[in-house]
Structures are given as C-alpha cells and as structure tokens.
Subunit: 242 residues, 2 copies
C-alpha cells in the first residue's frame, strides 16, 4: 500500500452532515486540503490538523497539491462540498493518478445537494430523477440543452445545480423555456432551496412558470417535479409510483 | 409544534455512513420504526430505544404505524436504507400526512446507493446523471423503457437501482438491449457494486455488452457511463467536462 489520499464529501454545509466514514477519514489524515470555504467548514471539528487551501477555480492545482503532499509520506484528505463524485474532485484526481507513483485514492461519499435539498423541500426526487448542471464552463451549452430536453422527454424529476452565476444570470430562465418547449406544463410543480444546511437556508415551492422568473444564485439548488409531482402544504412531493 | 416524525436515511449499510444529523434524530426519538433489516443496522448504535419493525412489502402499514405512535406523544424515527427521499418512504409519508392531525415530518437525508456505489467504483457520476429503478411493481415497464431511452439520448451517466429480482431476472439484460438499440456503444464503460457498505461488498467494471450478461441481484447497484466515461485500473471514471 502506498501513500493514501482520501477524497471526502463533507455534505452540504455544517458538521452535522458529515458521515462517520468521513469523520474517520479526516481524523486519519495528516493534512486537509480544499477550497478555502470547505476547509473552514471542517476546521472547527478538526482544529489541530494541518490545512492547505487554494482558491475557487484552482481545481487542478489543488489535485496536484494533494499528490505532492502524499509523496512526502503524509496521509491526505481532499475535502469537497456535498459528494466528491458529483461535479467534484473525484474524477480529476483519478485522471491525474497515472502521473504519480505509489499513491492510492479512496473516495468517501457525502450527501449531495440533490438529496439534501430534496429533504428540505419534502420528497421531490422520490422516483427516477436526473441531476443536471447549468454551468457551461466545462460543458457546451448544446449538451446541457440536449440533456434538459431528454429529462423532460423521459419525465424525470430533475435537480439542477449551478442555476445561475454572475456571468449566467438568465440560464435558469433559458432552461425553463426549453422545458416548456419540450412539453412540460407551466403548472409543473417545482421548488428551490438556497444555502442548504447553512445559515440562511430557505426553501420555496412554485410552478414551472414561476420558476422561470425566480431569483436564484450560485448557492441555490433547483428542483423540477415530474408530470405527477404535486405541492402539498408548501412541500414538493413526487410519488413513488404511477 | 405537534408530534414529530423523523424520516431518516441511514446510508448504504453500516453505522459509519450515518450522518451527524441522522444520529441526532435517532438519539432524539422515543421509538425507531423500520423494515426489520434496517432497524437491525441501527440497533447496535442505539440499543436502548424501543423498536417496531414490519416486513418488506408493508410500506403503508409502516407509515401508518409511525403516525399512530406519534399520536401517543412519542417522537418517532422511521429509518430507511440509503436516502429516505430516493424510492423511499418520504413520499408516502407526505401523502398520508393530511389524514393525521397535529403531526410534523422532518426528512433527514442519507447517502443513496447511487453516490455510495459511485465512490466504490471511482467517479462514474462525476457529470450529469440519471437514477432509474428497473422495478415495475409501482411503475409500468413502458415508463421505465422511455426513461432508459431518454437517458441515452441525453448522454447521461446512469445509476440503476433494482436491476433484478426473483421475478425479474432478465430486466438488466432488457435494459442493456434498449440502451444498445438507442445508440450506446457495446464498449460503453460500465460497472456494478454488490452489497455497498456491507459485508461482501464487491465492485466490477465492464463494458455495456458484458453488463448485459452480468449476474446481478437485488443488492446490486449498476452504473452505465456516458459516452466519454472510461475504465482506468479497474475504476470507472466520468470526466467533469467535455
């Protein structure tokens, strides 16, 4: 067995979402590496560890930093928000692995925003569902558009990540328009959650036509029900069957 | 505030997957209700609680039992494998809520098999993905077929739940045939994990044409990569971008 790097999903926010497996991995590590904000979230739980942090868009540098620290003989934990395998660092870490000798990766799963946000809204993903990111930084918009159309054609419930950013203010509106053009009813039951598991957590249920006008940001996760979903007492519910 | 029922996702198996939030909910409960197998999984952690269990197909009875116990003034935890909001009890609990007065539900998210299985396999869901169940107990096969076709049309990575049972031995083969007919390459990178997070955990990577012949059971979660996924050193990896 060589040097060990854990790739740890820490869940949506506060310590309470950490799994026992994630806690053990962090406890077992010599150095905890991550985007500054995520490292700050685990620091109160493990105040005595060494921390190394990098900025938001420095993903590949962060991965290489993990391998460099592991090469010094340290056990490393790379912390990611939510689940490390959902739009996270698990995949780039595997892509870089062949460049480094004698290193082993272990992915520790976490609760991703689709599931933690769903719990806040009620039960929006209680049947087949899709997870789609609207970020076109690494994916052509045509691919995103194709996936939104397919999700409606398949009548999936949908969890949408990265619905907006400074440069992409109208992306959720564009996505809603594609869903409406693909045959989703303007009355389709929807919802969104801001700041899941953090201070300022706020959930809203609405129709698809209202979602089109919603003000969302990069800390919002959006949910679109399937054709059978409904709103009941401010909760968004998708039935287990038909 | 009325009687409280937690609907708790306990993750894929052993205690180590419980989140801090799930532990607090169980600690705070007077009675823990669930399918026998899931109740047994948490009993070692909370040996002094009252436990009430029901058989596998008794989902609605189990839900009503929760409401009846809550009506006695007890705080109740309904435990579900994985995440309670993914093919779980969150949705039937909300559907029954209007029949009971003065009761409040709180869903506690857990790590669902899509994400815990993905961690074992590497990073198969590291881009947009779908979660599809092949069980036709509550869903017409035509709907399942439509969703498989849509998932391939949208080039999603796919996590497949309930790929087989005693009565549905050939369902994974049928699903693979639909994927192949929908244009997925026979060489598409795939994998599957048995007994995630439990004794006997076993991961296999393979091509889609090999998956078609795979022996799976009701404790297997299956993963189909998107068109860009690849196998590297026995791990299934889906890139973060294109």
């Amino acid at each position: 067995m060589g040097n060990l790097i854990y790739i740890v999903g820490i869940g949506p926010g506060e310590e309470c979402f950490l799994s026992g497996q994630a806690k053990k991995a962090l406890e077992n590590s010599d150095v905890i590496i991550g985007y500054t904000v995520y490292a700050e979230l685990v620091k109160p739980v493990f105040p005595c560890k060494e921390y190394l942090t990098t900025g938001m868009t420095k993903e590949i540098e962060r991965c290489r930093l993990c391998y460099e620290e592991a090469a010094k003989g340290k056990t490393v934990a790379l912390v990611c928000s939510g689940d490390a395998g959902v739009y996270g660092m698990a995949s780039p870490m595997y892509e870089l692995l062949p460049e480094y000798e004698n290193t082993e990766l272990e992915v520790v799963p976490g609760i991703t925003a689709a599931n933690s946000g769903a719990a806040v809204l009620g039960a929006p993903l209680n049947h087949d569902y899709c997870v789609i990111s609207l970020s076109d930084l690494l994916t052509p918009w045509e691919t995103i558009e194709k996936r939104i159309k397919a999700a409606i054609a398949g009548d999936f419930a949908i969890a949408i990540y990265n619905p907006s950013s400074h440069k992409r203010k109208d992306y959720l509106m564009r996505a809603c328009d594609i869903m409406l053009e693909s045959g989703a009813s303007p009355d389709r039951a929807c919802g969104y959650v801001e700041n899941i598991g953090r201070e300022g957590q706020n959930a809203t249920v609405c129709t698809l036509s209202e979602l089109r006008e919603a003000q969302v940001n990069m800390f919002t996760t959006v949910f679109v029900g399937n054709s059978m979903s409904f709103i009941q007492d401010n909760k968004l519910v998708t039935k287990r069957g038909y």
